[in-house]
């Protein structure tokens, strides 16, 4: 077990290295740089700026320098936001995105899983039809449309909630709902379908035949197994949602990390692109690791890499 965990961690570091390298190459390959502007800068001015940010160094040197700083935990200065560092940008934006993300994920899980269970339990009866209808609409409506409709209803029409900005709890409700909509619908459908799969398995049939109450079967036996695909989905989804949704944070003017992720690419703010990619990818590989660990708990029969199979 210990050996396999060490191996996994090494492979995660390798993954990060590849991601950083490919991102580095890609971002320098696309046209335009951080100081490309509508009003062209005179050549001399451009040269001074590039010298100041060491952008005139050959790319391999920039790459090596980046790694040297990264290993010290320094993600560098932003090219776009004068005198702000990438570390500061992440430190300011991540807590906001994570708070919003945590609420949205909790909502999706707490509503999605029970709704899916209800659907499976009442298969082809009205609760099932209701849940599935809502879920189908839910997955066809992306967050930006849901957000706009929610703002329209709750902020502009009923005047109950603020239309945007961040602060006290009432600011969280609309963006959290908008963010949670599609994942909730998906989790509900996923839970229902894998629950039905599990319910059809022999061991559940046996339990049923023994006369154990259906809900008890669902809760004790079926749920754990049925959660496999849900947990699989949650891993990368948590990494993505905790580092912020660009769409939701822009629509609601929320000072999170998601707004930086996409705009840094539009701005060609190289250090911010890399910094957030590193941060997100680290979170992602850790989440996927946890997901794999969760498999072992959810279904003890599953064996992981490192432990030989046959």
């Amino acid at each position: 077990m210990f050996k396999s965990i060490v191996g996994r961690i090494l492979s995660m570091v390798l993954v990060l290295w590849v991601i950083i390298t490919v991102t580095f190459v890609l971002m320098h390959a696309i046209p335009g740089g951080p100081f490309t502007a509508e009003k062209a800068l005179p050549e001399a001015v451009m040269k001074n700026i590039e010298a100041r940010y060491r952008l005139n160094d050959p790319l391999p040197k920039q790459y090596v320098d980046y790694w040297a700083n990264l290993l010290k935990g320094d993600l560098g200065p932003s090219f776009k936001y004068e005198s702000r560092t990438v570390n500061e940008i992440i430190a300011e934006g991540f807590p906001v995105s994570a708070e919003l993300g945590l609420i949205a994920v909790s909502f999706s899980v707490l509503i999605g899983i029970p709704a899916g269970m209800a659907g499976a339990l009442y298969q082809n009866r009205w609760p099932d039809h209701l849940v599935m209808l809502l879920a189908t609409v839910g997955i066809s409506v992306p967050s930006f449309i849901l957000a706009t409709v929610l703002i329209y209803i709750f902020a502009l029409w009923l005047q109950l909630l603020p239309a945007a900005m961040w602060g006290s709890p009432e600011y969280v409700i609309l963006p959290a709902l908008a963010l949670a909509g599609m994942p909730t619908a998906f989790i509900a459908r996923l839970t229902r379908s894998s629950m039905l799969e599990v319910l059809a398995q022999d061991y559940i049939r046996t339990a049923r035949a023994k006369g154990i109450a259906p809900f008890k079967i669902l809760w004790l036996h079926a749920l754990k197994n049925a959660l496999l695909p849900v947990v699989t989905y949650l891993g990368p989804m948590i990494a993505a949602i905790f580092t912020g949704s660009f769409v939701i944070e822009s629509i609601f003017a929320i000072p999170g990390l998601g707004r930086h992720f996409v705009t840094s690419i539009y701005n060609r703010d190289y250090t911010v692109i890399l910094g957030i990619t590193v941060f997100y990818s680290a979170l992602l590989v850790v989440m996927n690791f946890l997901v794999d660990l969760a498999y072992l708990w959810l279904d003890p029969r599953i064996k992981m890499d490192g432990e030989d199979q046959h």
Binding site: I30, A115, Q159, P162, P255
Partner: protein, 534 residues
């Protein structure tokens, strides 16, 4: 039994959610007695020496003040400088600072602060993007290129209250430039002690009507009245909130939800409704929206094709139906609002229009003369625009007009912003969407971009006669000679149909009727010095 329990639990959770939703509604709907202004995206920096964008300079215009300031008609007025002397050759300026002007921390504002600000902006190590706004100053460019030292630069504090400036060439609009943010002073003592002074509200010391108290990145910047300001008696507003959002839909939602009182970026679809409600202000804005023809790419290397395309556009219809901001039809290049040679005359009125809007007859004739009667034989032309719903709608409207009116097949391609800028400035296009906003209040800010080899000459226009005229206008302060040369240059540009002007910009502002006293400059800035909320 247990089944219904789980269903009940679900219902309870949903009810709780709804209840918390209803309970958290925000109370009163009447706005506060201070102004909440949606200024645009997060500022790159608030250091006036380094910033380049409109949101930045709008915030800075409240925090700082230059030697001069512009009135509503772009005339320079005394600000930090109470008066000035200009040498007869127009090369030497002496500015006398107002007595008792102070920074917001109580320190005196001195001529040395100006000298320090300008010289650091120009220094090569500082790497300021707008360093070129100071190339008018003698040896400014040479210093920025590292060819000479700071003490050779033509700006010098003679004492605490006297600043002497020597220019490279006579520059007629220099007093208008001194109101620009790149030429603001910075508090030398503070800046030398802390190079990151502008990042923190505590150390961001200014000399304007307001001072900063809080900055939540990507969210809001809060300002309060600066009691140390020399003209503080005129400042009525206790507090100013700048809201930071790059989304127009967010802005309009916040406006309708009474979270902001004023904003500059609402989507055009909402203009008619807001106008009906009396909550829309339209003011002139020094800029021209146009389509740039690449004069080196066939078939646009044929002047008649370019003229035909420009003439076949129904500009008024695009303004009325698509952009909706009461923009003025542009039948020339330089927008209105700039002084001509004689007092109270306008460069645009003097120059007049160069052609007729939607002149389809002539357009067809020209296209036939070019060898493409009814567009026959003309290969498809590609028009590029950068991603934005308004640019897209305009491009689609043009495409349809050219197809209907001339039988010309135009293909549209949108590009991500920096890719677009790159394609356009390399000249790797046929027709490109473009917009130009003036940097200072003189026609030259529009005309010198078409000089041969200019970094902004995306049309790849090369005309020695044009270059001569621009050089002539730049070499003198004599208004008659300058204006005559610039009118002639503009005529060349129009006759050669280097571009198809569409409209002269306006600033469309969402504003509640109880917001009063703010001042708009045609350069896009807004001054809240004397503003108040009723």
């Amino acid at each position: 039994m247990s089944r219904s329990r789980s269903v009940t639990a679900l219902v309870v959770i949903l009810l709780l959610l709804l209840a918390s939703l209803a309970a958290s509604g925000c109370g009163s709907k009447s706005g506060p007695k201070y102004l909440r202004f949606s200024v645009g995206a997060e500022p790159e920096t608030l250091d006036p020496r380094k910033s380049t964008g409109i949101p930045e300079s709008t915030v800075q215009a409240q925090l700082f003040e230059g030697l001069t300031t512009l009135d509503a008609t772009n005339k320079p007025l005394p600000a930090m400088a109470e008066r000035w002397e200009i040498s007869p050759d127009g090369l030497r300026y002496k500015f006398f600072l107002r007595p008792g002007v102070k920074w917001s921390n109580g320190d005196p504002v001195t001529a040395y602060d100006f000298e320090y600000a300008w010289k650091t902006t120009l220094s090569p190590e500082f790497g300021a993007k707008y360093a070129y706004q100071l190339f008018y100053v003698k040896n400014g460019e040479a210093y920025n290129k590292g060819l000479t030292t700071a003490d050779q630069v033509g700006v010098k504090a003679l004492d605490d209250r006297t600043l002497e400036v020597v220019l490279e060439k006579p520059t007629a609009y220099f007093l208008s430039l001194t109101s620009f943010h790149t030429l603001y002073p910075v508090p030398r003592r503070i800046v030398e002690a802390n190079p990151k002074w502008a990042a923190e509200p505590k150390t961001l010391i200014g000399n304007g009507p307001f001072k900063i108290t809080n900055w939540v990145h990507n969210s809001r910047i809060e300002l309060v009245k600066n009691d140390q300001y020399w003209d503080a008696a005129k400042v009525k507003m206790p507090k100013l909130d700048f809201i930071l959002t790059e989304s127009g839909s967010t802005e309009i939602a916040m406006f309708d939800n009474n979270q902001i009182d004023m904003g500059d970026n609402a989507p055009p679809a909402e203009y008619p409704r807001l106008k009906k409600e009396g909550r829309l202000q339209i003011s002139p804005y020094l800029g021209t929206y146009f389509f740039s023809f690449n004069v080196e790419k066939a078939p646009l290397d044929n002047v008649k094709v370019r003229q035909a395309l420009s003439l076949a556009i129904d500009r008024q219809s695009i303004i009325t139906n698509v952009v909706k901001g009461e923009q003025r039809v542009a039948l020339a290049w330089v927008p209105p609002g700039l002084a001509d040679a004689t007092p109270n005359s306008d460069f645009r009125s003097v120059g007049g229009d160069y052609f007729k809007d939607g002149n389809i007859e002539t357009a067809k004739k020209l296209l036939a003369e070019a060898g493409y009667p009814d567009g026959k034989g003309l290969p498809a032309i590609e028009l590029i625009y950068n991603t934005h719903d308004v640019h897209k709608a305009i491009a689609e409207a043009l495409q349809e007009m050219w197809r209907k009116n001339l039988g010309v097949d135009v293909r549209l391609a949108n590009q991500e912003w920096k890719v677009f800028i790159n394609t356009r400035s390399k000249g790797a296009y046929q027709i490109a969407r473009h917009g130009w906003i003036g940097d200072y209040a003189d026609p030259m800010t529009f005309l010198d971009m078409f000089e041969t080899g200019s970094g902004n000459n995306d049309s790849q226009y090369k005309n020695p006669r044009y270059d001569t005229l621009i050089r002539l206008a730049k070499s003198t302060v004599n208004p008659e000679i300058r204006m005559k040369a610039m009118h002639e240059a503009e005529r060349l540009l129009m006759d050669d149909a280097v571009l198809a002007p569409l409209y002269f910009y306006t600033r469309v502002t969402l504003v509640k009727p109880n917001v009063k006293g703010y001042q708009r400059s045609v350069l896009g800035h807004v001054y809240f010095k004397e503003a108040y909320v009723e």
